[in-house]
Each structure stands twice: as structure tokens, then as C-alpha cells.
């Protein structure tokens, strides 16, 4: 079990005063079966006139807030402490052919199945795409064990694609990612989700953080981390399996889960509508550090 403290600061600086802004933040880590939120603090400067918390339809925590005085800077700070203990491996009691798994899911009527089924559908950013279908094909020969097939897909994406922060924004269509063979974590998450869905396997997008280790011999830099994105695949008899094609991990090892949804649009950490403001500059600083845990983790959700 590891305890992390994550600090996520977002600062907007505006060229002209903003009269009014409405925002939604999805920054508070969820409690899941692998993770427990121990402490959380959410703050906004200038002080919001309205602040309301709710759960969205995926169960993520949403902070709605509005700043209603003239301002030229907006700072949102999210500080969380979470206990995380990922499973060391994902195994099923007996092999399960992926076609069989898909058939089970499609007719599944348990609450978990019913919730998962819709994640096999297209979503606003991830639409069915011939290139993704073709790419997925190689990992799914007839009769192959589902977990094996997913593992193979994770490895292939890790091997075939280059991480390149310069190339994309979050909204890159997967067709483009496939043709350039490069992208960032969001792109690889979208890609693997598209591949899984093309075979009928429910998959969802996870936003969160990852603990980064500094290069050998150098100091850890505060604020040098970034938010991270990966995916979950639905496996009957197990549930949602976290897979990280960017880091070739299944299951993942040092990740902090914030929110999940169909794709990036459902879980954007911060979005807003402003009136006024002119051009703006954005600065995001994320810091993930280990802290000493005081109490053992209890699975809860």
C-alpha cells in the first residue's frame, strides 16, 4: 500500500478582466476498490461566489464553481491524499475466449454488466474507425483468451507508437494517431479504447496521475509531473482492468485514479465558460509525492 499526496495547480492569466466565469472541475480522486481517498482539499482564488459539489452520471465528483467578480487571474488548487494498492496481477480462474466474453457481456444483466455495456458504444471523441478496427484485429484471433488479447494489444501499442508531447492536443482523432504512430497518453488511451470497443469489449477512459521517478542521480523536481490518462477494459468475472498502453502496464502499478468516463470529454479536469478575458495563458503544475501512511488501506467504493 502506498500513500500519495497529489497537488494539482491550474492557473489562468487573462489579458483583459473576466466579468464572470462558470466552471466544472473533475479533480477529486474517486475511492475505488484499489484506492481510498484519505484527505482532500479544493480551493479557488478569487473565492467563488457559488460552489457546489455533485456526482456526475459516471460517479465522478464534480465541483461546480463560478467567479462573479472582475478578475484577471484564476487559480484552482486540488490537494489530495490517497492510499493506493493495485493488484499485482490479473488472472481468471479459467481461460475465457474473447468472443465468449463479449457474448456474456452483451447479455449480462447484473448491475455491473448493465453499467459496463454502454461503454462498448462509440463516444463523442472515439468513433468507430476502420483503421482502429484493422489495428485491433491482430490481437484478437478467433478463440484467444481475452486477458491475453488485451495484454497483447497494450504491448503492441507501446511498441508501435512513440510518445511525443509535441504532436497533439487532447482532441486528436484516433485515425490521426494511427497514421502518425505517435502521440501522448490521452491519445494512446483513446486508441486502446477504440480498439477494444471495435471488438465489443466495454472500455473507459481514466484520468489521474502517475508517480514519476527522477532520472538516476538527479533530484525530484516539484511540479514536474503531469496528469495522466489510461484505460480500463471490462472483463467478465473480474471487472474493470486498468491498462496503461503508454507505460505498457496491465495492471497498472503507481497510478492515482481521479475520474472515468467514455473519453476525455467526460472527465476534463477543468472546463469553463468565461465572459471577457481576451487572450489567456495557462499554467498547470502537478506534483505526486509518496507520504508515510498512517493507516492500512481498506477497499471501498
Amino acid at each position: 500500500m502506498t500513500r500519495y499526496r497529489v497537488t494539482h495547480r491550474t492557473s489562468y492569466r487573462y489579458g483583459q478582466p473576466v466579468l464572470l466565469c462558470h466552471n466544472e472541475a473533475r479533480l477529486q480522486p474517486r475511492s475505488t476498490c484499489w484506492q481510498r481517498l484519505v484527505d482532500y482539499e479544493f480551493s479557488v482564488q478569487p473565492t467563488p461566489r457559488a460552489l457546489a459539489m455533485r456526482h456526475d452520471s459516471f460517479g465522478n465528483v464534480v465541483h461546480y464553481f463560478s467567479v462573479e467578480e472582475l478578475h484577471t487571474a484564476l487559480d484552482v488548487v486540488s490537494i489530495s491524499e490517497v492510499d493506493v494498492e493495485w493488484p499485482t496481477s490479473v488472472e481468471l480462474a479459467a481461460p475465457l475466449a474473447w468472443e465468449e466474453a463479449v457474448a456474456q457481456i452483451r447479455s449480462g444483466m447484473s448491475d455491473e454488466d448493465l453499467e459496463a455495456r454502454s461503454f462498448a458504444l462509440d463516444s463523442p471523441i472515439i468513433a468507430m474507425n476502420a483503421a482502429a478496427v484493422a489495428y485491433a484485429q491482430d490481437s484478437f484471433p478467433p478463440g484467444r483468451d481475452l486477458l491475453e488479447a488485451i495484454r497483447d494489444l497494450v504491448e503492441r501499442i507501446h511498441r508501435d507508437f512513440t510518445f511525443d508531447a509535441a504532436i497533439t492536443t487532447v482532441a486528436t482523432p484516433i485515425a490521426e494517431v494511427l497514421s502518425h504512430r505517435r502521440g501522448v497518453c490521452q491519445d494512446f488511451a483513446h486508441l486502446i479504447i477504440g480498439c477494444l470497443r471495435s471488438k465489443g469489449i466495454p472500455a473507459r477512459y481514466v484520468s489521474g496521475y502517475i508517480e514519476t521517478q527522477p532520472p538516476e542521480g538527479s533530484e525530484r523536481l516539484v511540479g514536474a509531473d503531469a496528469s495522466h490518462a489510461w484505460a480500463q477494459a471490462y472483463v467478465p468475472g473480474w471487472g474493470w482492468v486498468d491498462v496503461d498502453p503508454t507505460n505498457n502496464q496491465m495492471p497498472v502499478t503507481s497510478h492515482v485514479t481521479v475520474a472515468w468516463g467514455r473519453d476525455y470529454n467526460d472527465v476534463a479536469p477543468l472546463k469553463g465558460v468565461v465572459v471577457g478575458g481576451g487572450p489567456h495563458a495557462l499554467d498547470v503544475a502537478v506534483d505526486v509525492v509518496r507520504v508515510d501512511a498512517e493507516s492500512p488501506v481498506r477497499a471501498s467504493d
Binding site: 456526482h55 462509440d122 476534463a268
Partner: protein, 843 residues
């Protein structure tokens, strides 16, 4: 088949003999043997008695009323017919009370079922767990809004207002074709149709025992008031429209006017503190109830479509907070989904434990493996509705396609079956329509309207009947130029009288002020005043010029000084015109006609009139019906005139119409903020125009000055006054006095300044905005200048003889001060609302 057999005895025979029933259809007036249906018999006689002449007269009269009232339906993609007058057939559809009661019960049940479906699917989703509808279907439906899931609207009610299209099958049974829930339009048109018909056939209507419609609207307001957040005596209602570009904008304005609600666009509203506010001259005023006429996904750019500029950022958070009642809340578009339609009978059975009283037309969704084959096998007999299409009314009709096209459609359906739904093609019933001097059986669909009350719904005792645009054409859509009818539900007993006078939510309390006024509306009213005056000024100058030119041609002498033409170019700022093209002065006809009738040319008369009409339209709910009627007819006479000689009479007519409008403004508008802005606009425009005219006239060559001065007096409608005072001799100083410094002449600059000064003493807001102080100062300065001016010195020429020095200086100062006063007033009240935009963190 002949409706009346030869042995039928009296008058109706001849008339109705001309009506030929459509084979295989149920006719609302005649049975298949051609005998009148009992409930129609009385009316049948009445219409026969009217005969062709009476019906033609009724058609003309109703079209006139509709046009005058500005009843339009905006046709998309038709640049010429931007606004089309509502087509109306004067023969009402009549339904017997007992038949209607069955429909009514069915519609109420249907609305209650939808209500339960919405409550469940946006809430606990037990219909999914119970296996009634698969989760993929709900979550995959573009009309199911994930952001809305979990939201609990006030009183747990989703459908406050809804509508359904009802049709009758050949066997006489009724069936529901479609539901309308996002912005259920048509009730206003139904009301207007009723108003027109009750005027055209007033006797007939009085004795008809048709149920009155007004009670429905009272119920609507009462029921929404009851649910309005925060126990208050006066909840503020607004009707939220996408704006004048929307196809049913007329209806929005009409209903707002009739119901006494404020008509607003998204940018008039703002969410603060999770409450909704209206931007008014006095600042923000709380809004409690929104009647929404924008689509679901446009309601809130924060949580729904980020590119929406029609909605209000933060609206969903206010709805969640329960601080505003939105009728209906976003998310109800689910009821309009072709996908849901295919599951509706199952959903209803699960909820009611039995089948619906009033069935739906058969519906399929190609995403259901068991249904796609049925659709493809039967393609020419169904209507296809693309699942992702924004509008639910544009159906694809494979039956009318060439077979190659139909094959392509089938391929498209096989490729992405989830994107297609289908509906059975119902053979609609017919009713007689009076067209081109003939009675034709036309297919029809009824749109019925419901309002939520208590834990159920109430149906409007009447409907909007829409009729196919051509015989045998199944498509009924106002987009395709359909015709509508009033719908009478005839009671066996006399019905009570209910007034159709516009009603207010706040009926009991007498109010002296018209209440708050949105900044956008104030700005439009200001421009209404300016355009009215500008159009009048141009018309007057134009008339003077045309008269002189025509006279000159008869008398073969030059009585139209070229400077008058140049003044016209200056006044209308249509350069180069007569200022830049000397040759035009000798052949002015074409340029003059263009300045009258070229609607694409800014500064032309028709352009001003159309701008006037547009600003009037976007403040429609603030104008009286008479004002609106007058405005609607302004361009009637001058459109399409192609000879100078034909212009005089239309220009005369236009001046009369514009004066009528000015008279209505002066006489019928209460002296509230609305009048203030119209009058301010009018005064500032007249002052500026008169200054311009004076500059034009007194800076021509001395030889022409008399002729110019005379023309100026004519343009300024001051000939009489001048003659009375000075007999006929033209003195420049006298003309200047009369038009510049005389504060008793309503055409003089001084008079406008006094009025402006007066207006600025009585500002339309509770507080005096800063820039207005400045405007007040500027007007004071102008007024002082004008009053202090010695008209004698005004005539003086500069030593080089090029210009009347003093006059020029005064006029230039006036121009500048007036412009600044107008700017200051704009700055005080017309805050430029910045459009909200998205801010997304690219992490």
C-alpha cells in the same frame, strides 16, 4: 364518389357536389357513402350558404389579417421568402366532443407515461434493470443527455408543456405519429388561427359551440406559477427564444405578448449565484420561470454543446439548485427520439401494465436486429428518420425515391443500422380545403397541446390542424409550405365566453410602469425610433425631388437644383451617388429608383424600412397589434416601382403610413422605458438629419438658394408655417430660424433638443448611469448654443464668400455634440454583452 346524392334536397348539394372524396381515406366531413357526418352537418349548410364568393372573401380577409398581424413561418434555405405568411384555410376542422374526449384521455396517458420514462431513465434506471430497454439503447441515443442524468427537476416534473401529432387511419381510429417536447411549437399558431377565424366568421363562430382556447393558457400560467421556485406573489416568467432567425419566432413573440411574459434571448439572461437573472436597464432582475424554445443541447454551453451561443452558461447548475423552473428541462428531447419510439409500446406496457389507450404509429429502430429486416423488406412503405438528425420533422420518404436511391439508402442503413429509425406511413384522413375556387380533400395531421397540472396533464380543447401542401401528398410540414386550419371541438352545449385578450401572469396588481426592460430590447426600440425617422426624412426629401423633376420635365425648365440631389446623397450617405458622379445629375432616374427600392443598398429607403421592420420584429412583444400592423404594411407600396412617374403616389402613401406609426407611438405607447427609447431615437435622428439638411441647403450657390430653401421647407413640412409668418418671400434668416432655433416648431433642431433635454431629465432607470450625465451636458450645451444664436449673424458670409461662416460653425458643432450625446446614451444603456467562450484545460 359524390358526397351528396342527387336526392339530397336543398342548397348544400350544388356546393358540396364539387367535393370528391379521396379513395381509401377517412374523410372528416363525409362518410364513404358521401353522407355528411352528423357533427359536420350544421357547418356544411353554413359553408354551402357562403358559397364560392363567401369563401373567397374569407380567404382574402384571413390572409389580410394574418399578414397584418405578421403571422409568419420562417422557411429555412429560402432567401427570397425569408418570412412566409402563414397559409390558412378558413374551413375549420371539426371534431365531435366524444371523439375528442377519447383522444384527450389517450394523450394524457401518453404524457404521463413519458413523464415516468424520463423520471426513471434520468434517475434510477429501473426500466433498464428490469430488461424493458437495454442500456446501450438509452446511453447510445444522442437525445439522451448524460449530463442531465441524476438531475431532479422541480416537483420531479419533466414535461410541463408538450405536444403530439395525431392522425386518423382509414378505419377511423386515431394514432399518435410523433411527440414534441423540447420546444413544442404550434399552440401560438393555433391561437392566432382561432383569432382570425373568429373574426372572419364571427357569426358562425359565436353559434358554433366550439370549445374556447383561452382556459388552456390560463391553466398553463397558473400551473407554472404554482411550481415557481420560492414562494412569491410575483414569479417572473420569461420566454426564451433562439431569436428572430428561428422558424417559429413569430409564435414566440406572439405567445410572449399574449401571455404577458418577457421575450428574451440567451444573452439577455445570466446565471449568478446559481440563479438566473435578466439583464435590464436597472441591472439584474431575478427570473423564476423560463418557457424554453431552444433545443436541449443548446441550453448550457458549460455542460451541453460547448459551441452554443443561444443558451446560458451555468443554467444546468441553477436547475439542479432548484432556483429556476425551466419548462421543459433539458433532456426531454428523448421523447422525440426515433429510437425510443420503437421501445415506447414496451415502456408503456411496463409502466401501465396494459397497452396504451391511444396507440402510436408503428415504429422500428434498425439497431434492433429483429427490426432492421422488417424495415428493409418494407422500405417503400415506411418513413425513415435519421437518428442523429437535429430536426425530427424531416423524414425520408423511400416510397417517393427512385429505386437506385432507395437501394443506396438500404445500403446506408445496413452499414450503420443504429443511425436509422423508421415509422409506419399512416394513410391520413382528409378534410375539405378551399383552394383555387375548389373544394379539395387534403390529408391532415392534428397537433394537440398539453400542459402539466398537478400530477397529470391537461389537453388544449382544440388543436393546430396542418394540411398537406398538395393533394395526395403525404408530407405535412410547414417547411414545405403546408396549410393550417383552425380546429373546433364542438360541444353539445353552449360554451362559456372566455376573453382572448392578452393575459398577464400578474393580473391582480395594477402597475404603472411596464416593468423591467431588457437592455437588448431597449436598444432595438431606440433603433426603431431612429429608423422610423430616417425613413420619413428620406421619403420626404425623395418626394420633393421627384415632384420637382417631374414638374421640370413637363414645364421643360430646371426646377430641381442639383444641390438637392447632392443633399439626398449626403443625407442617405450613399456615396459617391450624386456627389461623386456629376453625370448622374443629368440622368438621375436610375439612381433615385435604386435609392428607393434596392434593398441590398444600405441607405436606400427600402433598406431603412426593412431595418425598421427587423428591429420592430425583435421587440414584437413590446408593440401593440396596431403598431405592428402598420409596420407590416410599410413597404407594400414602394416595392417594385420602376418609373419615376409612378413614385409620387407611393411616397405620399408611405408618408401617411409612417405618420400613422408615429401617431401610434405618441398616442398608444405608455410613457415607460419603451417609449423613452423610441422617442430618444426619433429625436436624435431628426435633429441630426435637420442639421444635415440645413448644411446642404445653405452651402449651395447663392443663385440656387431660394429654390433650395423652398425645397427644404417642403421636406421639413414647414411650408404652411412659413407662409403664415412671412407670406411668400424667402428670407434665409427666417428659414434658419424656423428650422434651427424655433423651439415651437416640431421640425426644428431646437425643438428636438428641448425634447432630448426633457427625456434626459426622466431617465428610464432607477439609477442615472454615469455616461448619461455626460449626454445631458452635451444636450444642454447644444441647446444653449442654439438659443444664444442670433439668426441674423447666421446669414453672414465669410469674407471670401465661400461659406456662411457662423452657420457652418454652429452646424458642425451640433453634429459633433449630437453624435457624442447618442454615443453616451448607448454607453449608458446598451452594454455590449460579450459572448461567453470555452476555456478548457489542455492538461
Amino acid at each position: 364518389m359524390t358526397p351528396m346524392t342527387a336526392d339530397a334536397s336543398n342548397g348544400p348539394t350544388d356546393f358540396w357536389n364539387r367535393y370528391r372524396l379521396a379513395p381509401g381515406r377517412y374523410d372528416e366531413w363525409f362518410d364513404p357513402q358521401g353522407r355528411p357526418r352528423p357533427h359536420a352537418a350544421g357547418l356544411l349548410q353554413s359553408f354551402a350558404a357562403l358559397g364560392s364568393v363567401g369563401l373567397d372573401e374569407a380567404v382574402r380577409e384571413s390572409q389580410r389579417l394574418l399578414k397584418e398581424n405578421g403571422v409568419t413561418y420562417n422557411i429555412y434555405g429560402d432567401p427570397h421568402g425569408d418570412w412566409r405568411t402563414w397559409s390558412f384555410d378558413p374551413i375549420p376542422l371539426i371534431l365531435a366532443d366524444e371523439q375528442w374526449r377519447a383522444i384527450e384521455a389517450g394523450l394524457v396517458e401518453r404524457a404521463n407515461v413519458w413523464e415516468a420514462v424520463l423520471r426513471d431513465l434520468y434517475g434510477p434506471r429501473s426500466l433498464i434493470r428490469g430488461g424493458v430497454i437495454p442500456p446501450e439503447v438509452v446511453d447510445g441515443d444522442p437525445r439522451y443527455l448524460r449530463s442531465v442524468a441524476g438531475l431532479r427537476p422541480i416537483a420531479d416534473r419533466w414535461l410541463h408543456l408538450c405536444a403530439a401529432d395525431v392522425a386518423r387511419r382509414p378505419d377511423g381510429t386515431f394514432v399518435v405519429l410523433d411527440d414534441r417536447t423540447q420546444s413544442p411549437s404550434g399552440a401560438g399558431y393555433a391561437l392566432e388561427n382561432r383569432l382570425v377565424l373568429s373574426r372572419v366568421f364571427s357569426d358562425l363562430y359565436r353559434t358554433s359551440q366550439a370549445h374556447r382556447l383561452a382556459s388552456f393558457f390560463r391553466t398553463m400560467l397558473a400551473s407554472l406559477s404554482m411550481l415557481a421556485p420560492e414562494e412569491r406573489e410575483e414569479p417572473r416568467f420569461v420566454l426564451l427564444t433562439p431569436g428572430p432567425g428561428n422558424e417559429t419566432y413569430f409564435e414566440h413573440a406572439y405567445l410572449a405578448h399574449y401571455l404577458g411574459l418577457t421575450l428574451v434571448e440567451g444573452s439577455d439572461l445570466v446565471v449568478r449565484e446559481q440563479k438566473v437573472w435578466l439583464r435590464t436597464l436597472d441591472g439584474l432582475e431575478r427570473v423564476h420561470v423560463i418557457l424554453r424554445r431552444i433545443d436541449d443541447t443548446y441550453c448550457d454551453p458549460l455542460e451541453l454543446r460547448p459551441d452554443s451561443v443561444l443558451g446560458i452558461p451555468g443554467l444546468l447548475s441553477a436547475i439542479r439548485e432548484g432556483s429556476v423552473l425551466v419548462a421543459n428541462p433539458p433532456g426531454v428531447g428523448l421523447c422525440e427520439s426515433g429510437v425510443m419510439a420503437s421501445y415506447f409500446p414496451d415502456l408503456a406496457r411496463a409502466i401501465l401494465g396494459r397497452d396504451l389507450l391511444l396507440p402510436s404509429a408503428r415504429a422500428w429502430w434498425c439497431g434492433r436486429p429483429e427490426q432492421i429486416e422488417e424495415v428493409l423488406a418494407n422500405l417503400e412503405n415506411v418513413l425513415i428518420r435519421p437518428v442523429r438528425a437535429r430536426s425530427t420533422s424531416n423524414l425520408i420518404r423511400p416510397g417517393e425515391m427512385a429505386s437506385a436511391d432507395r437501394e443506396r439508402l438500404a445500403e446506408a442503413i445496413r452499414r450503420t443500422p443504429r443511425d436509422y429509425a423508421a415509422r409506419e406511413m399512416v394513410h391520413l384522413s382528409t378534410a375539405p380545403v378551399w383552394i383555387n375556387d375548389a373544394l379539395e380533400p387534403r390529408e391532415l395531421v392534428l397537433r394537440a397541446f398539453l400542459v402539466g397540472m398537478g400530477d397529470s396533464h391537461v389537453v388544449m380543447p382544440g388543436a393546430l390542424t396542418r394540411v398537406a401542401s398538395a393533394t395526395g401528398k403525404g408530407a405535412i410540414s410547414n417547411q414545405e409550405g403546408g396549410i393550417s386550419k383552425d380546429t373546433w371541438i364542438t360541444s353539445p352545449h353552449p360554451v362559456g365566453f372566455v376573453t382572448l385578450l392578452p393575459m398577464g401572469v400578474r393580473q391582480v396588481e395594477l402597475r404603472r410602469s411596464g416593468g423591467e426592460i431588457a437592455s437588448r430590447v431597449a436598444e432595438n426600440l431606440y433603433w426603431l425610433g431612429r429608423y422610423t425617422e430616417r425613413a420619413e426624412g428620406t421619403t420626404r426629401l425623395m418626394r420633393t425631388i421627384v415632384r420637382r423633376l417631374l414638374e421640370a420635365r413637363h414645364a421643360d425648365n430646371d426646377v430641381c437644383p442639383p444641390d438637392l440631389l447632392r443633399t439626398l446623397t449626403h443625407l442617405t450617405t450613399t456615396y459617391p451617388g450624386f456627389v461623386g458622379n456629376e453625370h448622374l445629375l443629368d440622368h438621375p432616374d436610375e439612381e433615385l429608383l435604386s435609392l428607393v427600392g434596392d434593398s441590398l443598398r444600405p441607405g436606400s429607403l427600402i433598406h431603412d424600412l426593412e431595418s425598421l421592420w427587423r428591429t420592430a420584429r425583435s421587440t414584437r412583444d413590446r408593440l401593440s397589434d396596431d403598431m405592428w400592423r402598420t409596420i407590416n404594411c410599410l413597404t407594400d407600396d414602394i416595392r417594385g416601382v420602376s418609373h419615376l412617374g409612378d413614385l409620387v403616389e407611393p411616397l405620399d402613401q408611405l408618408i401617411v403610413r409612417l405618420s400613422a406609426l408615429a401617431g401610434l407611438v405618441a398616442d398608444s405607447m405608455t410613457r415607460g422605458p419603451g417609449f423613452w427609447f423610441v422617442d430618444f431615437g426619433r429625436r436624435i435622428e431628426r435633429a441630426m438629419a435637420t442639421v444635415n439638411l440645413l448644411r446642404g441647403v445653405f452651402f449651395c450657390s447663392v443663385a440656387l438658394e431660394d429654390a433650395m430653401a423652398e425645397a427644404l421647407l417642403e421636406v421639413a413640412d414647414s411650408v404652411m408655417t412659413y407662409r403664415r409668418r412671412y407670406k411668400s418671400r424667402l428670407h434665409p434668416a427666417a428659414v434658419m430660424d424656423l428650422l434651427l432655433t424655433d423651439d415651437q416648431n416640431p421640425r426644428a433642431v431646437a425643438y428636438q433638443l428641448v425634447r432630448l433635454h426633457d427625456l434626459l431629465q426622466r431617465v428610464p432607470s432607477r439609477r442615472v448611469p454615469k455616461p448619461l450625465e455626460q449626454a445631458r451636458q452635451l444636450v444642454m450645451t447644444c441647446l444653449g448654443d442654439v438659443r444664444m444664436t442670433d439668426t441674423d449673424t447666421l446669414q453672414w458670409w465669410a469674407e471670401d464668400g465661400s461659406v456662411r461662416e457662423r452657420l457652418d460653425a454652429v452646424l458642425i458643432d451640433l453634429q459633433e455634440y449630437l453624435r457624442r450625446a447618442s454615443d453616451a446614451m448607448s454607453a449608458a444603456y446598451f452594454v455590449q454583452v460579450e459572448l461567453p467562450r470555452q476555456l478548457v484545460e489542455f492538461a
